[in-house]
Amino acid sequence: MANKVILLVEDNPDDEVLTLHALKMNHIGNEVVVARDGAEALDYLFGRGEYAGRNVNELPAVVLLDLNMPKVGGLEVLRQIRADPRTRRQPVVILTTSKEEQDLIASYDLGVNSYVRKPVNFDQFTEAARNLGMYWLLLNELAPV
């Protein structure tokens, strides 16, 4: 697990920096691949476009997925992940600012593994990042490929 990547799907550069910082603060050393929108995330996962030729069987340890993104939104990304046999067991954690009910419900309906709201307070955000890393990278067992 330690060598597995973390796919961070985040369109906000500030949030990207802060998230990476928070991960670093928690000494999470896994490679973080950042997709700046949903399309890019899907390209990565399915070895297309920029990531053509990538071994799609090497799935990330966890996908940290924002919802509100230009082009392809987070929920659509989630839907396609679950729709594809190759990625359907991929752990996906929604990491978003939204606390809207409809987003929560839609996410779980599409089979998300976890839903984390980004707190404004960075201390809390850091804490959340630490918990996420601890859980998904150390405790959680992935399904066999």
Binding site: D14, D15, L18, S98, K99, K118, V120, N121, F122
Partner: protein, 956 residues
């Protein structure tokens, strides 16, 4: 049978007796002949005396009658004319055979003589003179009247006091108050009969004078009634048994008895010593009656040879028997027949028939009398009727009636109350008829007594029925006098019953109607005498005592009563009916007013000729010229109905007539001027007596204006709906935009904040050594501001989410919700010691999630603002507030100034420093929004330092 058998029986008895006597005599005649003769003679003598006495008695009755006539007229009121009238009322020859007449002798003092003469001469006798047999100076006793005068002319004017015998007798009569005979005298009017006449006198006294002593009686006497008698005339028809005996009369008051009468053969020799001298006291005189048997008496006794006697007697007996039979058969037959019939009638009568003497002593008492009064005849006869059956209270009435009869007055019949043997009273009607002797003298009276108890009871029942009648009842006699009136009549006319009875009917009729009423109706009725109603429908009026009039209806009924035919009138008070008629009239007028005011036209459609009658309003509605008024037909109307409506209206009309529907159409009428009017119609069917529909009567009402107003309202409503739809669409759009806005707020506003906080944090942590204290403080402030703004955004989102959320109300257990909230608060702040009081079982109707948010805020506030209290207390409950159920959250925390109470519920409004009590100022705005969404209200009361109470209601 009896009448035939009587004489036959007697004849047989006589015959058998004769035979027996003959046989007996044949053996014992010699021994008994003397005794026989003596006994029979004695009997004969006694009969003679008795006969004589009876004859004299009849004159006494005559005297009393004459006296009565004078007394009735009065001492100063008696006139010749009256006395003659009285005398003529008597049949002297028949009633008093042998009397020369009856007269009046007036006592005249010598000093009164002149005035008496004057008066006597004025009294129908101009040549009246006083004649005296012997002159004297004493009081005169002048024969003023003697009737019939023809036989007694010489006696008129004679002063009987002028002769001793007459004066003495008159004096005795006056002093002893008794009828008196004079000694035998020679009457002036029959001077040939020397000392063979008498005066029979009875005194007359002034009424009211004392009669205590002989002297006072003499004083009180003002004269005498008298009758002059001649003994030969008195005894002219005396029964001498065909000459069996002779008779002589002596006046024995003198030493040598004075023989004043002798019959034929009075001086013949005595036969077989059969002579009787019998003293008789008669009206103050002592007479001796001398009776001598004559040979015929002996012969009649048949005292011949005893040996032949048997045979002869037997033979005679046969003859006598036959003779008796033949002689008496016819007379007895007749009398017995009459008597038997009479007796049978009397005995079988239903009415008590009681015979009495003039003195009231009962002489006969029939079976009905026994039954009615309970006394058997044996007990009743001989008693005074008044003592037996007349109650003591009515004795005087009885006495008066007797007196009237005695005075010769007529008493036909009367109703009174008598008493039975058992003491009970009985209503009787008594009819009185005089009993006269064969000679016409009144010997007594017969009273026919009828038990009228039942009749009285019927009368009482009739009165009760009349009294109980629901209408006024009046009974009138033929003279139209009211004889009976019930209480209703008293009420109707305002008179008391006593006033009404005896009143003339016309007093109850207004003067203007009297002639027609009394003269007409009642008279006609009395003539027709059958029940009927007087002029129903005419305005009959009654007149009350107070002069007011009352409309009445009168029914008349004939009533037959023993008193004659009466009329029973029932009088019904019509004032109430009249009032109802007036009310009906008023109601009709009011209805007409209403019909006019409502603009309703009335039409009548006669089915027989299809004719239509319209009132003025109908003409106006259809714009028809008034000239047409009565010239409509059904087709005229039909032509004015809108072509689109005519089918529907006619169908409605048809259904109404056939009874399958109701005619209540609304249709359009087209007027001749082209205007269209909306008409609302209704109708009723009127049937003739045989049930056929005669006509249809209906109304039309112009509802054009209503229709137009209705159309305008309809249009307005349509517009309104369209506008509402438009607005709703706008709102939906706005809502959608708002949602989008909220979403972007949620995401897009928070992200920069996170950057601010996140990078400030990184600077503080990773670059702290490059900043001084002020720099670090500023970064801290940036972070606080960013975090605070994050909270604000969260709360604003929550608020907007409440607005957007659809309400899903359900039954809530508020107490349990409060419990949950408190539990969470305690968990979040476990060090706090707060006393919580929650009323159990408080339920409400609301959206669980929203109410929970409201309670979170209210209880959170209470928890927060009591944080500085040593003994914090939070209470939840419900109470009545202005007749609504209000829930409340009360705390004893910091409280607030009521001056700011209105501001509490605005968004971002805070009454405390954030440093003191943290918060965004949106909580109570959220509470208010939740409550209002439920249709409730929230309000707060409080005082700085003394806590606050938040009330809220749900579901108005």
């Amino acid at each position: 049978m009896i009448s035939v058998r009587g004489p036959l029986l007697w004849a047989l008895i006589a015959f058998m007796f004769g035979c027996a006597v003959a046989a007996y005599k044949g053996i014992h005649l010699a021994g008994v002949q003397h005794t026989e003769k003596t006994e029979r003679f004695t009997n004969l003598a006694e009969r003679v005396v008795s006969q004589l006495k009876m004859r004299m008695q009849t004159y006494e009755y005559g005297l009393r009658g004459a006296r009565g006539a004078v007394i009735t007229a009065g001492v100063d009121g008696i006139t010749r004319e009256k006395f003659i009238a009285y005398s003529q009322s008597r049949d002297l020859d028949r009633e008093f055979p042998g009397s020369r007449g009856y007269g009046f002798i007036r006592k005249v003092r010598p000093d009164e003589e002149a005035s008496f003469l004057q008066a006597a001469r004025r009294d129908g006798k101009p040549d009246f003179q006083i004649r005296q047999l012997t002159p004297h100076d004493g009081e005169r006793l002048v024969i003023q009247y003697i009737e019939p005068e023809a036989n007694n002319r010489e006696a008129v004017g004679l002063d009987i006091a002028s002769e001793t015998n007459r004066r003495q007798a008159a004096l005795v009569a006056m002093r002893d108050s008794t009828p008196i005979l004079t000694r035998p005298i020679t009457l002036v009017q029959a001077s040939g009969k020397v000392k063979r006449g008498f005066l029979f006198l009875i005194p007359l006294y002034r009424s009211g004078a004392s009669l205590a002593s002989p002297e006072s009686r003499e004083q009180a006497a003002f004269g005498l009634a008298y009758t002059p008698l001649i003994i030969d005339e008195v005894l002219a028809d005396f029964d001498f048994h065909d000459g069996e005996f002779s008779l002589a009369l002596y006046d024995s008051d003198v030493e040598k008895p004075d023989r004043f009468y002798t019959s034929i053969k009075a001086d013949a020799p005595v036969v077989d010593g059969l002579l009787k001298l019998i003293p008789v006291t008669l009206y103050g005189r002592h007479w001796q009656v001398e009776i001598k048997a004559l040979p015929y008496f002996i012969n009649a006794l048949n005292l011949t040879d005893p040996r032949e006697v048997a045979g002869q007697t037997a033979a005679i007996s046969v003859l006598v028997a036959i003779l008796i039979y033949l002689l008496s058969r016819e007379r007895q037959r007749r009398s017995l027949l009459a008597q038997a019939r009479l007796a049978a009638i009397v005995e079988s009568a239903n009415d008590a028939i009681i015979g009495t003497t003039l003195e009231g002593i009962i002489t006969s008492w029939n079976r009905a009398a026994e039954q009615i009064f309970g006394y058997p005849a044996e007990e009743a006869i001989g008693q005074a009727l008044s003592c037996l059956v007349v109650p003591s209270a009515l004795q005087s009435e009885e006495a008066e009636i007797l007196a009237r009869i005695e005075r010769g007055e007529s008493v036909s019949h009367f109703t009174t109350v008598w008493r039975r043997r058992d003491g009970s009273d009985i209503d009787v009607s008594v009819t009185i008829s005089p009993i006269r002797a064969a000679d016409g003298r009144m010997m007594g009276v017969a009273k026919t007594v009828r038990d009228v108890t039942e009749q009285k009871r019927s009368e009482a029942r009739f009165r009760l029925a009349v009294e109980a009648a629901p209408t006024a009842m009046l009974m009138m006699d033929q003279a139209q006098t009211i004889t009976l009136a019930n209480r209703k009549a008293e009420e109707l006319f305002g008179y008391t019953g006593e006033e009404l009875v005896g009143m003339a009917l016309e007093n109850l009729i207004p003067a203007r109607l009297r002639q027609a009423h009394v003269g007409g109706h009642v008279c006609n009725f009395l003539a027709a005498s059958s029940a009927r109603t007087v002029d129903p429908g005419h305005n009959l009026c009654g007149l009350r005592k107070d002069g007011s009039e009352v409309p009445v209806e009168v029914g008349l009924n004939p009533v037959e009563t023993p008193e004659g035919n009466l009329v029973l009138a029932s009088v019904a008070d019509l004032s109430q009916r009249r009032q109802l008629e007036q009310q009906l009239q008023a109601a009709l007028e009011r209805m007409k007013l209403a019909v006019d005011a409502a603009g309703i036209g009335i039409w009548i459609w006669r089915l027989a000729d299809n004719h239509l009658i319209w009132d003025d309003r109908m003409l106006e509605l259809y714009g028809a010229p008034k000239a047409l008024r009565n010239d409509f037909s059904y087709d005229f109307w039909r032509a004015h109905v809108h072509p689109d409506d005519v089918g529907y209206v006619e169908e409605k009309l048809r259904q109404h007539i056939t009874g399958t529907g109701i005619y209540d159409p609304i249709f359009r009428a087209i007027r001749d001027d082209g205007q269209i009017r909306w008409i609302q119609a209704a109708a009723i069917v009127e049937r003739s007596q045989d049930g056929q529909i005669a006509q249809v009567v209906g109304i039309n009402r112009d509802i054009t204006e209503e229709k137009e107003a209705e159309a305008r309202i309809l249009e307005l409503n349509t517009n309104l709906e369209r506008r509402v739809e438009e607005r709703t669409a706008e709102l939906v759009t706005i809502n959608r935009e708002l949602e989008a806005f909220s979403y972007s707020v949620s995401h897009d506003l928070r992200a920069p904040l996170r950057s601010v906080d996140g990078f400030s944090n990184i600077l503080l942590k990773s670059y702290a050594d490059q900043l001084d204290d002020a720099g670090r403080d500023y970064l801290q402030r940036m972070r606080a501001a960013a975090q605070r703004m994050g909270l604000l955004i969260d709360d604003l989102l929550a608020l907007s989410r409440i607005t957007r959320t659809e309400l899903a109300p359900e039954d809530l257990d508020l107490s349990a919700l409060v419990e949950e909230v408190i539990t969470q608060l305690r968990e979040a702040d476990p060090e706090r010691q707060v006393e919580i009081r929650i009323q159990p079982e408080i339920r409400a109707w609301g959206d669980t999630r929203l109410v929970r948010i409201a309670l979170d805020n209210l209880l959170g506030n209470a928890w927060k603002f009591t944080s500085k209290k040593a003994e914090a207390c939070i209470e939840f409950g419900q109470e009545e507030h202005e007749s609504r159920r209000a829930f409340f959250v009360r705390d004893n925390g910091a409280g607030f100034d009521m001056a700011y109470a209105q501001k509490l519920f605005g968004a971002f409004q805070r009454l405390h420093q954030v440093k003191e009590f943290p918060g965004t100022g949106i909580g109570l705005a959220t509470v208010q929004r939740v409550v209002r969404k439920h249709g409730g209200e929230v309000w707060a009361t409080g005082k700085v330092g003394h806590g606050a109470v938040f009330h809220f209601t749900l579901n108005r």
